[in-house]
Amino acid sequence: MPTSVTFDQATRIYPGMTTPAVSALDLEVRPGEFLVLVGPSGSGKSTALRMLAGLEDVNQGRILIGDKDVTHLRPKDRDIAMVFQNYALYPHMSVAENMGFALKIAGSPKADIEARVLEAAKILDLVDYLDRKPKALSGGQRQRVAMGRAIVRQPQVFLMDEPLSNLDAKLRVSTRTQIASLQRRLDTTTVYVTHDQVEAMTMGDRVAVLKDGLLQQVDTPLGLYDNPTNAFVAGFIGSPAMNLGTFTVADGHALIGGAKVPLPRSTVGAITGDQVQVGFRPEALELSSETDPGSFPVEALVIEELGSDAFLYGNLIGDDLRADHIVARIAPRSVPAKGAKVWFTIAPGRIHAFDVETGDALPTD
């Protein structure tokens, strides 16, 4: 039976620091769930994982695995297995010894260890490499050995700390799918740390976004994408990122590039000052003509033609959008020329609004 994992106000303050690396983290990982912790560097995601692993002290709060309080247990007593970013394979042991080491320490019978190592090796396609030392393996194979070492343990919880970041781009994509399907198959609760929001979106049942040690939002990938709780999550999730800019509000409209873009009534009611932070995803922009109501002009700077999609990067003409560029997804294979002036409207219902001061999402119903 899969187990749940609970962070209950868990806090970690590194010695000599005043601000916590992880601050009062409240998070429940459901049994069998693949939960991804994502955030920029320094967000505390790895620290949170290491607290769960028992590699970092918990200064306040508790951590539970199932119903068991593991806050102050040693790593080996937590029934967890971890995949490290740099794999941390034992260089002096063969692949088979690496994978079976935990069982050997636990005193399992030799035949049992061999059987379980072989089983894991079959799953991970490592049978031919069992006698090799790690240095005779490729990066992808080492990564699989690290996975195998975790699988052999048959732990309650898998912890993975950016296990794909040392692989090249292509291998990363294929391994990503393998890990996700393997996790579904084993049905083991998994906490996965990454800084790559694409990994988070594609792998996680749910995704927890952290920033500066504070949990911003936990939701399904689509939930985060469609209903970000604040401007940070909105900007962090999605590739290319959401367009975010601060605009003047007048008369229930946001003034974007001279155009008056109507805001939902609930949003207008929640705006405190005379400005609002507006967000719209690249695919929420629709090519339009100058005469359409609410359309604004963009000067195309760069067109990225990907074959299946095309992205237009441009500057909003005649406005004070405080974002680097406007990004719009456009139909591929018939893209506007570089330098062209293009008109866009925001698709109805696809506009996000955030408080200028706090960055919190404003209602858009």
Partner: protein
């Protein structure tokens, strides 16, 4: 040196390189001669005394003392026979082996565990301890010998092998702890963490994961501690009082008193004592392999 600019790969691809153009890796003839000449002279300076001792050891005593210098003069193994059978040399040799072996084993055990603690753990006084290790290295033996003698006398250890083992460890352990700490620092911490998750405690991690990877560092430590004890004279003369308890350093001194030195015995003894050191070095150097930790972690 030639004034010709070094050829670079971009300017002169291999196919069109004229034969006389020198690559960046090549030396001029003059530089080669100077370099090899220097190396040969340096090698000769380093090897000559050893060679001279070896040649002398197979000469009769009268030949050694002659003012006329010759490389070979009625070569004989008589000196070796006398040293091995007519003197206390075998007993001193055995004493030295015992003292050096214990110094080596105890020295490695202490410096490896101290080095690991310094590398991995935080504890009060850690910085202070490392300073103390350094400070103890700064006193010359001549200054230390009297207080250590007093301590040994109070402990009743004078004229015992234990006194020498302890004294040699005070010399070797601080240095080796520093050295091994540096070596342990190069072993990724993630391996310790992986071991902790796999169920090992700190000592198990040290013994089963770290030590096997620190073999080159341990080999150097072994050789260093062995040598510290093997050829040492000052402590040996001060602490050892009976002829049967002498180690080689103290014993060989007996051959060359102020008057009528027995160079024939000394040279033969000197050659013989290099053998164990060479054996220890032979076993140590087998472990001096680079890249033991390769493949464990990436990046």
């Amino acid at each position: 040196m030639s004034s010709m600019p070094p050829a670079t790969a971009t300017e002169t691809p291999a196919a069109v390189t004229p034969p006389r153009v020198r690559g960046r890796e090549d030396r001029s003839l003059l530089a080669s001669v100077a370099l090899h000449g220097t190396l040969i002279v340096a090698t000769f300076i380093a090897l000559f005394p050893v060679l001279w001792v070896m040649l002398s050891s197979i000469k009769p005593a009268s030949e050694i003392r002659r003012t006329e210098i010759s490389l070979f003069a009625s070569p004989t193994l008589e000196n070796y026979r006398k040293v091995l059978f007519d003197t206390n040399f075998p007993q001193w040799f055995l004493n030295s082996v015992i003292v050096a072996a214990f110094t080596m084993v105890i020295g490695i055990a202490m410096s490896a565990s101290a080095g690991y603690a310094l590398s991995r753990f935080n504890f009060p006084g850690k910085r202070g301890l490392m300073w103390v290790f350094l400070l103890t290295q700064m006193f010359p033996v001549a200054i230390l010998i009297v207080p250590i003698y007093t301590i040994m006398a109070n402990l009743g250890l004078i004229d015992t092998k234990a006194s020498l083992v302890i004294a040699y460890c005070t010399v070797a352990v601080p240095f080796c702890a520093w050295m091994l700490r540096g070596y342990f620092d190069t072993i990724p911490r993630e391996l310790d963490e992986a071991a902790a998750l796999d169920g090992l405690g700190p000592f198990g991690t040290f013994y089963r994961v770290i030590l096997p990877l620190a073999r080159p560092g341990l080999a150097v430590t072994a050789f260093y501690t062995f040598l510290t004890a093997w050829g040492e004279v000052a402590y040996a003369i001060a602490f050892m009082q009976t002829d049967d308890h002498y180690t080689l350093g103290a014993g060989l001194q007996q051959f060359v008193p102020q008057f009528s030195p027995r160079w024939d015995l000394l040279t033969a003894g000197a050659v013989l004592i290099t053998i164990p050191a060479a054996i220890v070095f032979f076993f140590a150097q087998k472990h001096l392999v680079a890249g033991l930790t390769a493949g464990g972690t990436k990046g």
